[in-house]
């Protein structure tokens, strides 16, 4: 269903564009959700059980988000060269790290394990644990 993919992609880009114009971070989140949903749909409808490009997609989404949120920063004149350079280095580092993490996930997903309720439960517990750790850290830093 290429029209469906195209429709979601266009909607995502329109949402992203609206977020940039209206300077609303909520619209960025919805745009990223739509782009992720499109990828998930592509995975569901196709036969790409282990798409090798998933880490690149993850890194691309993160880069898109970073650049979009950067656009929301207030303009306070011309930025210093060192500020721009350090931000660029941070962006490259973060994107590479994201691709690396995606590659680790891809490698983990490619391990031939038989599924089952226990494994699913372990996965769910891991996901909840990750979110709980993040929430705890956020609470401590607040």
């Amino acid at each position: 269903m290429p029209w469906l993919h195209a429709g979601i992609a266009i909607l995502a880009f329109l949402t992203l564009g609206a977020g940039l114009v209206l300077r609303r971070s909520t619209l960025f989140v919805w745009a990223l959700v739509l782009l992720g949903a499109e990828y998930a749909l592509w995975l569901e409808l196709g036969t790409h059980a282990l798409d090798q490009r998933a880490p690149i997609v993850g890194g691309g989404l993160l880069l898109t988000a970073e650049l979009a949120f950067d656009s929301l920063e207030p303009e306070v004149g011309r930025l210093e060269a060192t500020t721009v350079l350090s931000r660029a280095i941070t962006l490259v580092g973060v994107t590479l790290a994201a691709i690396g993490v995606g590659a680790v996930v891809l490698a983990a997903a490619s391990i031939p394990l038989t599924g089952g309720v226990a494994l699913t439960a372990v996965g769910a517990a891991a996901a909840v644990l990750v979110l709980a750790v993040m929430a705890r850290l956020a609470a401590e830093r607040r």
Partner: protein, 424 residues
């Protein structure tokens, strides 16, 4: 310093959670590859988001400047932990403009490496300013947290009115008993020759005019005028002003007041001040640099306050208006109360001169014939007002922006010489 989470933190956490949930629900482990980068950024950001311990101090190189002068403001910044981006906004009062430097500005602050931002500010208008209102906003490397710091306004800057160049000051009709630079009308010990008269018992031999004595056959002596000081009262009308943009008649009046105060105090005269307007303020006549500073400080606090109550000269304490003082009124002659007070002063016998800070350049003559006619009538009424004051022996000079004050004072001086001569 206040720390707050940026919108990015919540957004990334939500995206990570949603991705993980979708992976579980759909049974697609690859979706974790989409969610994991966001989770990674959030986790790393949370671990390393420590308070940068930002310190900031504002300094100005001078606390007293003249209108139009440049003052340097330095903002010293330091932080224990580096800030990849620090937005700096120095909020400036209306009368100060940035001559050199960037404001607002975004900089990078390295850990334990103090940095100084410098702004050169031009004081465009007189007044008392409080500067140092600085807003700082830093963020961590990943942009998940913001650190806000607001510095209080605690640096005072006094901008005194620009002064005019004067060659001569108005000479008062009478002098006071103390020594000064003004030649008194009465006779006594002094330098200026006054007249000769027959010798009287007690006259010093050094005063004998030998030529007159030889010609007349009896002793004649020289009389001289002593040098005495004078009392000057600056009467500043702050009931009303005419304004256009940044300039107003009050600016002119204050500039004239500062110029006259400095000029008379340099001559060792005693100068007092009456701020006659919505708020009545006064300074008793005094002399010396301290008095000059007191007058300048009082001038800076002068404001036009809307006030409907009738006020006349009777509310001014008598000690502020010493007998035989020269009262120089600085007024736009716009408010009936101040005009009445000037007539009242003259009726009480005070030596009075009026420097009119002309409101005419600030007025629009109008476009329609009716408006132009009204403007002409208004001008005629002002002329009539000036004539009434002149008829009572008050020198009135019109002073406008761009015209030297010295010209107006010379006109007033000429009028007063003529008026005194006519009075005999």
């Amino acid at each position: 310093m206040r720390r707050s989470a940026a919108p990015k933190l919540g957004a990334y956490a939500g995206l990570a959670g949603l991705g993980l949930l979708a992976a579980l629900v759909l049974g697609r482990p690859l979706l974790v590859a989409l969610a994991a980068p966001f989770a990674l950024v959030v986790a790393v950001g949370l671990i390393f988001a420590d308070d940068p311990e930002l310190h900031a101090v504002v300094r100005i190189d001078r606390e007293r400047v003249l209108e139009g002068d440049v003052v340097e403001l330095a903002l010293e910044l330091s932080a224990e932990r580096g800030l990849p981006r620090l937005d700096v906004l120095i909020r400036l009062p209306e009368g100060l403009v940035v001559e050199q430097g960037k404001n607002p500005v975004s900089i990078r602050l390295e850990p334990r490496a103090p940095r100084t931002l410098t702004l050169r500010l031009r004081a465009r208008r007189w007044g008392g300013y409080v500067v140092g209102d600085v807003l700082l906003r830093g963020q961590d490397s990943l942009g998940l947290f913001r650190f806000d710091l607001a510095l209080p306004r605690d640096r005072q800057l006094r901008v005194f009115p620009r002064e005019e160049q004067l060659r001569h000051l108005l000479r008062p009709q009478d002098t006071q008993p103390y020594a000064g630079d003004e030649v008194a009308r009465r006779r006594g010990d002094g330098i200026e020759f006054a007249d000769i008269r027959p010798f009287a018992f007690g006259d010093q031999v050094t005063r004998v005019n030998w030529r007159a004595t030889a010609r007349r056959g009896e002793l004649w002596v020289n009389d001289r005028h002593p040098e005495r000081n004078t009392d000057i009262v600056l009467f500043l009308d702050s009931f009303a002003e005419a304004r256009r943009g940044d300039t107003s008649t009050l600016d002119l009046a204050l500039r004239a007041a500062a110029t006259l105060a400095r000029g008379y105090i340099a001559k060792r005269d005693r100068v007092g001040l009456i701020g006659f307007g919505g708020s009545l303020r006064w300074l008793q006549p005094g002399t010396g640099e301290a008095q000059l500073y007191r007058i300048c400080e009082a001038l800076l606090d002068t404001r036009i306050l809307l006030h409907y109550a009738w006020r006349d000269i009777a509310v001014v304490p008598a000690r502020v208006l010493p007998p035989q003082a020269l009262v120089i009124a600085l007024s736009p002659l716009l408010d009936e109360r101040s005009v009445h007070a000037l007539h009242d002063l003259r009726a009480r016998g005070y030596d009075l001169a009026v420097v009119e800070a002309s409101p005419v350049p600030y007025m629009d003559p109008g476009r329609t014939p009716a408006e132009r006619l009204a403007f002409r009538l208004w001008l005629l009424r002002r002329n009539a007002l000036r004539e009434r004051l002149r008829q009572s022996g008050v020198a009135v000079v019109e002073w406008q922006e761009g015209k030297p004050l010295a010209v107006g004072l010379e006109e007033a001086g000429a009028f007063r010489r003529h008026a005194f001569a006519g009075r005999g």
